[in-house]
């Protein structure tokens, strides 16, 4: 327990003057919001002025970790935590702008209907930000009163599922939606996005979907999707930053024309500045990225990150097409992988014109899991010879390369005199 004694004479008070109690309410509120809620409650005993200051806090954060619930959560402990929240909410006086509930171990969403009452109260109090993190894969349904929170601007839900109520008119003000450990059996995410006209940021982490998910949004700026899904259609032409990490069940191999419109997605991007395609995302996209298929130059694109098999003909071709439409590319990161089942092509990169000006603005390249295969070495050779302003080439080989190969790498001809090849 920090007793403050170690601070010696720091923050010495002016003799007999109590400044803190006379600060404007908005500042006192901000200070209290920086404290764990139990300590905030303690302030009711300070003086008459402070008796009900806690009750008008605009942000309420309930974390099970702040309550010594012990390592094995028992029924009684859960009751205490729930009761505390019940009390605070019922005695609370004034708007609640932010509500955060961190209860990953406690069975909060199961019995008792507590969360329904809490959500109803929040919807009546103009809440702007809601964060609920619960036990994962419980698939508890978010109460429908969540959708009556008309002032909602930011929502982060972990471990919950939801269903849009029939008369839902949309979240007019919401700018960020963040779903974690989310299991979808229908396109409710897509419907929610469609009813959120001002949505700018959409993050889906560890999504598990058996449904056909379709995300359409013209205002969306930042998109992050990772997880396992069987079908994903993205129409978000104005995103400036996109990270897509597509995992698949073992044994399932994405085939041509697989259920993802990733190649059209990339082709439709107008304002993209950085893009990451990980897992099987680029492999899928590659089926549709062919010479001439990417309709326009992506002038704002400065960073590309790909998980890619450079020896796979389709992927190599697609990568080449992508580089060709990104004249202002400054950073490339490739997480190299050998997928093992496609016809390898060792000479693709050697056959490309090395003076084509492909990497005119490239400043940094990072290659991870470099195994020194023909394709990978061929690509590196091309890049070094064609990048006139390259500064750093970072190659992470996990100690796979022998001394001879490493020497050969370092000896490769470079177009940029300042280029530094770093082996890790």
């Amino acid at each position: 327990m920090d007793r403050g004694g170690s601070q010696k004479k720091r923050h010495k008070a002016v003799a007999n003057v109590d400044i803190i109690s006379n600060l404007p309410d908005v500042i006192k509120d901000k200070i209290l919001c920086c404290l764990p809620i139990k300590e905030v409650l303690g302030t009711c005993l300070l003086s008459r002025k402070w008796r009900y200051t806690w009750a008008s806090m605009t942000e309420l954060t309930f974390r099970e970790d702040d309550f010594d619930l012990g390592s094995s959560i028992e029924e009684g402990e859960t009751k205490k935590f729930v009761n505390f929240i019940n009390m605070v909410l019922s005695l609370h006086n004034g708007p609640i702008l932010k509500f955060e509930l961190n209860a990953r171990r406690v069975h909060l969403l199961s019995a008792g209907g507590h969360i329904h009452r809490w959500m109803l109260m929040l919807s009546r109090n103009g809440v702007k930000e809601i964060q609920i993190r619960t036990k994962i894969w419980r698939n508890h349904k978010i109460p429908s009163s969540f959708f009556s929170c008309e002032e909602l601007e930011y929502a982060c839900l972990q471990g919950c599922i939801f269903q849009l109520p029939p008369l839902f008119t949309g979240f007019k003000r919401i700018h960020t939606l963040h779903f974690i450990d989310f299991c979808a059996t229908e396109n409710n995410i897509g419907e929610l996005v469609a009813s959120s006209p001002n949505l700018e940021k959409l993050i889906l982490s560890r999504l598990l979907s058996f449904a056909d998910i379709s995300i359409h949004s013209t205002k969306l700026k930042i998109l992050r999707v990772d997880g396992m899904f069987k079908h994903l259609s993205l129409v978000t032409p104005h995103v400036s930053s996109a990270v897509i990490n597509l995992q698949v069940n073992t044994g399932y191999v994405p085939r041509a024309g697989c259920n993802f419109n990733l190649s059209q997605f990339i082709g439709s991007l107008l304002d993209i500045e950085n893009i990451s395609l990980l897992g099987h995302a680029f492999e899928c996209a590659a089926h549709g990225i062919l010479p001439g298929k990417l309709p326009r130059l992506l002038n704002r694109l400065t960073e590309i990150t790909l998980e890619i098999d450079l020896g796979n003909m389709k992927e190599a071709n697609a990568a080449h097409c992508l580089f060709q439409v990104a004249p202002n590319l400054r950073r490339v990161e490739l997480q190299l992988i050998y997928r093992g089942y496609a016809a390898p092509t060792s000479n693709f990169w050697d056959s490309i014109d090395h003076q084509a000006g492909l990497f005119n603005n490239l400043d940094t390249v990072v290659l991870s899991n470099f195994a020194g295969s023909c394709a990978e070495s061929g690509f590196l050779k091309l890049l070094l010879e064609d990048a006139p302003v390259l500064r750093i080439a970072q190659i992470k080989d996990n100690n796979k390369l022998d001394k001879e190969s490493l020497k050969r790498l370092l000896k490769m001809r470079r177009a940029s005199k300042d280029a530094e090849v770093i082996l890790l």
């Binding site: 002016v14 109590d18 908005v26 404290l35 003086s47």
Partner: protein, 158 residues
């Protein structure tokens, strides 16, 4: 974002006038860390200087120290170090003056920093210790105090 002057001209500045009539000429890019001043610049009412009747010269100088550092947007670790030293102040009164100034001038980062610092002075302390730290006078009668403890018993049970 402030409108930066073109390369060969001097960057646009704004004059801030403290409550005790000290004048500070500050680049717009620095002054606009204050949303209050930013709106004034956008509304074009900064001719002849911006009077800040709620901030003394001494405090304004410190505020500008913060704004200068943060406007230069150096790296995160450096800023963290600076922030830590910035609030390592000897007397509480200055800390409170800074939090009031940050609120009045609407400088988000500085407001968060100073409020967190004050919160850290409360954290982990008993009621009596908090009173002592901030000179809060206990004006409850014993009956009142007993009533509060009953009213909020659910919060104190541990």
């Amino acid at each position: 974002m402030a409108s930066a002057g073109s390369g060969d001209e001097k960057a646009a500045t704004v004059t801030l006038i403290s409550s005790d009539n000290e004048h500070f000429e500050v680049p717009e890019a620095v002054a606009t860390l204050s949303q209050t001043i930013r709106h004034m610049i956008e509304d074009g009412c900064t001719d002849g200087g911006v009077p800040l009747p709620n901030v003394t010269g001494r405090i304004l100088a410190k505020v500008l120290e913060y704004c200068n550092k943060h406007a230069a947007a150096s790296d995160k670790d450096e800023l963290e170090k600076f922030d830590k030293a910035f609030v390592d102040i000897d007397d509480q009164a200055t800390l409170f003056d800074l939090v009031m100034a940050a609120n009045y001038l609407d400088i988000r980062g500085m407001l968060d920093l100073t409020c967190q610092t004050i919160a850290d002075m409360i954290k982990g302390k008993s009621v009596e210790e908090i009173r002592e730290t901030f000179n809060i006078k206990n004006d409850f009668t014993p009956e009142e105090e007993a009533e509060i403890r009953r009213e909020n018993q659910w919060a104190f049970d541990d």
